[in-house]
């Protein structure tokens, strides 16, 4: 996945502050944290000399910006997913929110599960409940280590 | 032509199982079935790279499939893997010993590079149909 340095290299590196951040580096961090979008950097969009950089940056951040990437930075590679539901059952939020369903190995029963399997692959909803979300986030990896095909990653 | 001797173990793959449900005759099923996973060293011996075709031969038969670099993290010279399918079954001996179960998971074979195309399912069917 993209790291801060890679993103920074593709920014104008002028620290012009038009984005509202003091440095391009800070903006790079904001991009990866999904607090800002590429369009928040006016020079990059407007100045044709950055055209190549812009193109590369879009490519680099495409997985992050795609619909698959939720606000926690979770990326689900549905093409690799087995639909086994291991993550659904192992997710501590699911266990707490859905004690009669996913906690016991079934599909969700409470409507409050955040991971579920639809059409044979995993889907993430109510992402604000994920333990990686919000100010007190913790680096939970229950869904990653239980996946037989490494179909889930966090950026 | 350089050859390498291997023992082939067949296995099941969920994507291949999914493709099988959809149809034995689908291209998808062939792409996920007509494969042999080889050890890196064995690949070198027969001067083959990931994605090229190889000919696999046993006393029981012969088949042309795509060679893939095995993703095992330990080296395993002499050991190869194939998804269980009509392709791997071309190679299994009809000798079923006392158990009457064919040797699906320990197939002694020789692998060599080839410029032939991967066998299609129709070709396998023709071979099965042909008089012997």
């Amino acid at each position: 996945m993209a790291n801060v340095m890679e993103v920074y290299q593709l920014l104008p590196k002028t620290n012009c502050k038009e984005c509202g951040y003091p440095t391009c580096m800070a903006f790079a961090v904001a991009l990866l944290g999904k607090e800002k979008i590429i369009e928040d950097c006016p020079p990059l969009i407007e100045n044709p000399k950055y055209e190549k950089k812009l193109e590369k940056l879009r490519e680099l951040l495409a997985p992050l910006m795609s619909a698959d990437a939720t606000e926690t930075g979770m990326i689900i590679h549905t093409d690799k997913c087995y639909g086994c539901g291991n993550c659904v059952v192992a997710c501590p939020v699911n266990v707490a929110n859905d004690p009669k369903g996913t906690a016991l190995g079934f599909g969700p029963k409470s409507g409050r599960a955040i991971l579920m399997v639809e059409d044979g692959v995993i889907k993430c909803v109510n992402v604000e409940e994920c333990r990686r979300f919000g100010p007190e986030k913790i680096l939970c990896s229950a869904c990653i280590v239980t996946c037989p095909s490494r179909a889930i990653e966090f950026v | 032509m350089a050859k390498v001797e291997v023992t082939i173990v067949t296995y099941r793959d969920i994507f291949q199982e999914e493709a099988k449900e959809i149809g034995r005759y689908s291209d998808e099923y062939r792409d996920l079935s007509a494969l042999i996973l080889l050890d890196r060293g064995d690949m070198k011996l027969i001067k083959t790279e990931d994605g090229q075709t190889v000919q696999v031969e046993t006393d029981g038969g012969m088949v042309v499939v795509t060679a893939r670099l095995s993703e095992e993290d330990e080296e395993h010279p002499g050991l190869a893997f194939m998804p269980n399918s009509p392709w791997s079954n071309q190679l299994v001996s009809e000798d079923t010993g006392t158990s009457k179960i064919p040797e699906f998971k320990r197939i002694k074979a020789e692998v060599s590079a080839t410029d032939k195309d991967v066998d299609t399912i129709s070709e396998l069917v023709e071979r099965i149909r042909a008089d012997y």
């Binding site: 599909g107 059409d119 692959v121 | 969920i14």
Partner: protein, 409 residues
């Protein structure tokens, strides 16, 4: 809620949404089950005789003719049919004086027999979920073959005595010749053995359980096995899940496993559940056992006879008509044996076109169980699961097809 017949877990929590009478969304189906649902629209078989399309009735009467005229018919398949269809199938075999065999014959048969005869202790998957703390996946790869096994029952779910989650409550060990997708997630140890190395591993484990040094060359492995011995001794409720890897390695020498199962039950309590693939293989084995005292490979030519000569791989040599139901036998067997099969006049009953139906004289399309036809089946652990059809279709069930053939012969 629907039941999936994609594998022998028979998941019964499948939710469906419909649009214009078609399934528009599935919930809780794994990729393999999803494949089965999608197959509703793919490559369906048509009734045909010698390659020419005919009506259903015509196909039935030609099938009955072909089987009725034969001296030595062989009826094969069954693991993808309901219990009700299997019963009729056995009656049909009796009526025809036929040989009957199922996929267990070159699959889980030798082990399943031990379990069904009560020689190996077994339990239900619900008990596994509630109580099991040590899990041994031996030559099995549920992630690929029974994808929801670990999430619904064996490893990840909470249960009565397993409330704290898999990482604290359960120990999972994988024994395999390759790093399968199951090996990747079984957190507590991967024992890589060479192909055919299972008997030796059993010996080593027996030594370790007896506090002796296992006879293994590799020093690291020796240590690992010794440690495994003590892990296994500490289990409260252990379960072994043997797959085809173990069974193909031992075959008719499955008895080599017996001392280990015995020993494990001396040091603690251990059960065994064979990792069946097809959704109702166990059902057929159980039903035939009740009827004849044998789980497969039976001939009704002269009363009830059983033996390896009635295994499909042998029976093919002297049968003069073949009926295959719910199995792509030609794809599944070595080509050299399939060549022989291809020359036998065959009736093939299946929802889909496949290699076997393509070589058959008579083809009869059938409904997909659980989707287009109801019935019941035995899950891999022997629990009976009933299912209803979830959509309307013109395809007839195996029960109807077999009853019609039965009437016609």
């Amino acid at each position: 809620m629907a039941v999936c017949t994609g594998c022998s877990l028979l998941c019964d929590d499948i939710e469906l949404e419909f649009e214009d009478g078609k399934i528009s969304l599935t919930k809780n189906l794994c990729r393999k089950g999803e494949g089965r649902y999608r197959s509703l629209r793919e490559d369906r078989l048509v009734p045909a005789v010698d390659g020419a399309k005919v009506g259903f009735d015509e196909a039935i009467s030609r099938a009955a003719e072909l089987l009725g005229d034969a001296e030595n018919p062989l009826l094969f398949g069954w693991s993808n049919s309901s219990l009700e269809a299997q019963r009729i199938g056995i009656d049909l075999a009796k009526k025809l004086g036929a040989t009957i065999d199922d996929t267990s014959s070159f699959c889980q048969g030798y082990l399943m027999e031990k379990v069904l005869r009560g020689e190996y202790p077994t339990c239900t998957l619900d008990e596994v979920r509630n109580f099991a703390d040590v899990l041994i996946y031996w030559g099995s790869d549920p992630s690929s073959s029974q994808p929801r096994h670990m999430s619904r029952f064996s490893y990840f779910p909470r249960g009565e005595k397993r409330q704290r989650g898999y990482d604290e409550d359960r120990t999972a060990i994988a024994i395999d010749v390759r790093k399968s997708p199951t090996v990747v997630i079984a957190a507590d140890g991967f024992f890589r053995i060479p192909p055919g190395g299972d008997a030796e591993f059993i010996e080593a484990l027996l030594a370790a359980l007896g506090g002796k040094i296992p006879k293994v060359k590799d020093k690291k492995m020796k240590k690992k096995i010794l440690k495994l011995g003590s892990t296994l001794r500490k289990a409260e409720f252990g379960v072994v899940f043997p797959g085809l890897g173990l069974i193909y390695s031992l075959k008719d020498e499955i008895d080599k496993l017996t001392p280990l199962i015995t020993r494990l039950n001396e040091v603690s309590s251990y059960k065994l559940i064979p990792m069946v693939g097809h959704y109702n293989m166990r059902g057929f084995n159980q039903t035939l056992l009740e009827e004849t005292g044998h789980i497969n490979r039976v001939s009704f030519k002269d009363g009830v006879e059983h033996g390896t000569q009635f295994a499909v791989t042998e029976a093919v040599n002297d049968c003069d008509a073949l009926m295959v139901i719910g199995s792509d036998l030609i794809s599944a067997l070595p080509a050299a044996i399939s060549k022989k099969l291809a020359r036998i006049p065959t009736v093939a009953i299946d929802p889909h076109r496949n290699l076997t139906t393509d070589m058959a004289r008579v083809t009869i399309p059938s409904a997909i169980s659980g989707l287009e036809a109801g019935g019941s089946a035995l899950r891999m652990d022997g629990v009976k699961v009933e299912f209803e059809p979830v959509i309307k279709s013109g395809y007839r069930s195996d029960v109807e097809i077999l009853s019609r053939i039965m009437e016609a012969v």
